[in-house]
Symmetry: C2
Amino acid sequence: MSKKYIDLETLKYVLYDIHKLEDLLTRERFKEHDLESLDLFIDSVKEFSDRDLYPYFKEMDQTPAYYKDGTVIVHEQVKTVMHKSGEMGIIAACFDYEDGGLQIPFSALQAASYIMDAANNQLPGYPGLTQGAAELIVEFGTDSLKEAFLPNMLSGVWGGTMCLTEPQAGSSLSDIVTKATPTNEGFYKISGQKIFISGGDHQFAENIVHLVLARIEGAPKGTRGISLFVVPKNRVQEDGTLTYNDVMTIADFQKMGQRGYCTTHLGFGDSDDCRGWLVGEEHKGLNQMFLMMNGARIAVGRGAAAIAMAAYRTSLQYANERPQGRKLSADGKKNPSEKQSLIIEHPDVRRMLLLQKAIVEGSLSLVMLASKYQDILTTATSEEEKEKYHLLLETIIPIVKTYPSEAGAEAVDNGLQVLGGYGFCTDFSLQQYYRDIRIFALYEGTTGIQSQDLLGRKVTIENGKGLQLLYAEILITIIAASNDEYLKPYAIILGEKLKLSEKILGHLMPFAMKGNYERYLADANLFMEYLSIVVLGWLWLEMAVDAKRELENADRKYSENFYESKIHTMKFYFKYEVPKTNSLAESLMSDEVLTIKNEKEYII
Amino acid sequence: MSKKYIDLETLKYVLYDIHKLEDLLTRERFKEHDLESLDLFIDSVKEFSDRDLYPYFKEMDQTPAYYKDGTVIVHEQVKTVMHKSGEMGIIAACFDYEDGGLQIPFSALQAASYIMDAANNQLPGYPGLTQGAAELIVEFGTDSLKEAFLPNMLSGVWGGTMCLTEPQAGSSLSDIVTKATPTNEGFYKISGQKIFISGGDHQFAENIVHLVLARIEGAPKGTRGISLFVVPKNRVQEDGTLTYNDVMTIADFQKMGQRGYCTTHLGFGDSDDCRGWLVGEEHKGLNQMFLMMNGARIAVGRGAAAIAMAAYRTSLQYANERPQGRKLSADGKKNPSEKQSLIIEHPDVRRMLLLQKAIVEGSLSLVMLASKYQDILTTATSEEEKEKYHLLLETIIPIVKTYPSEAGAEAVDNGLQVLGGYGFCTDFSLQQYYRDIRIFALYEGTTGIQSQDLLGRKVTIENGKGLQLLYAEILITIIAASNDEYLKPYAIILGEKLKLSEKILGHLMPFAMKGNYERYLADANLFMEYLSIVVLGWLWLEMAVDAKRELENADRKYSENFYESKIHTMKFYFKYEVPKTNSLAESLMSDEVLTIKNEKEYII
């Protein structure tokens, strides 16, 4: 099986040359790392992915996780990957030394995780959520909770999950009803049900540590009455042994994709013997969970970007090998005596490949940008720096979660189309990428919810300061590109798109100011699409500026082709994707109000 | 299980009120039918679909067709549906009385088949392809071929297929190598392999009649050397019994969707004993096959439109039943003490539902329009009428095949999203519609091939006469809408889009005239998208004109809501979809050439 599921060169180019990982390494927190050691870490994860993830991609899809006798049966590679992720320090990578971590930059871990996602997206969630759950314990838990859970989680012996969703509440967390009843023994009794819990149970986990949102009896209604608890499947007794903590596995959801990644339905406290320990403050659970949510949302964007990468590489390889059809000659006909062309020679196939490349590599740069912001934020040395990167990160997060998921699915769709009928057949992996990536627009807040977050909260954050800061960053690239005659036309276009976005907001803001939030937010999805294209246009222009400079550099790291392909893809993005902003702007500034419910029933 | 997989009212509205089936019934061919009898026919197919198709939709997906011991094992409902489709006259519907047919209008049959597609898209292909194969025999076969095959095909006792694709040729039919060697006994010996043969074999077929494209020894290269043969799996001996005709089933392709619909790999003449009979003239096979291709392409568009309909109805029902979240109040917050809203009350959910409605019902109207053209063409009473409807049909066919497949997939994607995480779970049917519909952009000529056909052949047909005729039809609606103050703004917009399309063609044509066809066609897909939006905008405006008129009619057939929802959806299409033409035009008229291969390698 080919291991060309990723373009490692581009990954490193984006991480090292575009987002300049090296600059982070001067920071105190990372001082024991250098580029070489991180490069070795990334290479070791690539080898790990080649060996332990990619070969099981199809097999896991064909033998999905399933519920049996109170537990979930998963592919045995889950065990291997959990343990090796522990051994290799992947789970512990970003934690403090004192918590057993390695203080590796978040960006470097994201690059490594991206490789794992591209190799087999059904596996990285197991260690990934364990790491997220451990993070909450580290950030808000007491020392005794840290002691009890952290070592086994960071070593991959125990799994971890986030338990938010409940059947009756769905995305509306204010309607959570899972109950926490205080006792005098330092713990709460937990009762309730949680659904859609990724990695929620499996036959290889000695223990699974759930981070559960629940409501302490008498808590205020809504999101301000939710607390966070650590609720292990098995609790540790005084003698150190484990005993069942009344966390029942009720079912495993069967899904269209990511079939090897279990999605469980859990019941807590069915026998009134489920113990949970408060993490952080009472009623602050949602805020605490959301502090970690940025990481989770970057991970979703990263996963989708990585699947789209794998699909792109697969369809590119096919297009380079498959002969079919012929070039049109000057009379508009084809000569059947001529040799067949490779399909990569057909303009429409090239269009589908370049569209994929533009979305895939652009999404990668977006994910790495957010990861860099996160690194700067967590190591900020001044309040000013902290505020700046906090706002930049908050503003960009909904886009980082959404663009790779939505555009990534479109990229995979084009990859499948490149293979023609074979793309639809299970002998080829495109159809699996197509199924797998579809969940990413639903994970951790759907596209609709992200769009409301972007327009409703992030755009207005501190009177628009987040957006101003983002635009200031974009302007730096516009200025750099304007200094190059070849790139200047694209810089001008991008500048116009920034201005147009201000016009759109000028059209929408009065609705919010008059208290008509429903109208203000009605087309938030379109604004998300608009701003995403602007941001991706920026990231492509940034890559083109670098590539253009390197082409004039005799000592350049990569081939001429490599840099030229980046400039070419930027141009592709500006020809085919950036113009979509105009029609989006037209729809966004239309005075027709068609999606707000009134007394008439238009949807029948 | 709910049988709300289709909005029968809208189907009949489009067929009877918009495309005026009644007008066709004055024609000689249809004189023995009236609206009532055809309505009964459609209702009987609805009952048949409720009873024999819809209940097996999920089950067939979960027990896919598979290869075993030289044949393909399919769900036993295939047998029932084949036989009942024969009994009920569905297969024979459009054939001449003298061939055992019922002379039912093609439009009425398409409406009935649309119901079957919506109910369970894995089944209608079995009788559908049998009908297509029979049509080729009727149109081009000798009387003895008709006698030998037709009765058992029309009664659904024997199946039929179309065998075009070969492993080495894919979409490039000029590279077909299946061989036909003449004998002195009235038949040819056939040898070769065919892939992707829908309904190619199964355990219930007493016989399957393949219509096979092959090359007679010594035939010219390319598409001008292809002939058409009828090659049954079992041939009829002189005593009337059947004997094996050396048509071997090699495999069944396993697919992402339409899993209950078999897709076979066939080998002909492995033991040098496969007999085929020439249908029509030597070397004219491709032209003959393509005469029937319009019907096949309408059927593909119809199938996709129907799947999108079923997905829409399912997500609409969910949105009307699922409570989640709350309305935003004037402070931009939600009050957790308030009752939960139904999700259909959220603007973004309404946007997703209206987008589906616009695509689904618009696609339905498009399919019925093409079917009407086909009916007029086959019953034309003058050369002028014949030419007009031939050109209209040819021009619109690539759009009829493509728009429902591409936009339909987008509609289903939105339907899945309406269900949130549940949409991704196999307990709900949205994920199956999502998988099933994906093949339609590949069937019978991919979107890329249809787009080349549209821009390369149909737009230029008889110096653009086809397009002129289409625009003249659109103008009739524009004029009608302009006479209504309320609809006039939309009429003006549509008129502008027609003009803009002429500007686009004015930009592209010079490339074709200079013999640079590769450049002319490089962005054919974008032109397809452009013209599709114009055509759909037209069809929606046409519906709005009718609805507006009926709202003023005290005797109206449907409810006020019904007509108002059509006008509202038209407005939705003009706000959210029609503006996309502007960005498409910008891309199409850009001077950047980025997808034509030159000496540099940009896709790496």
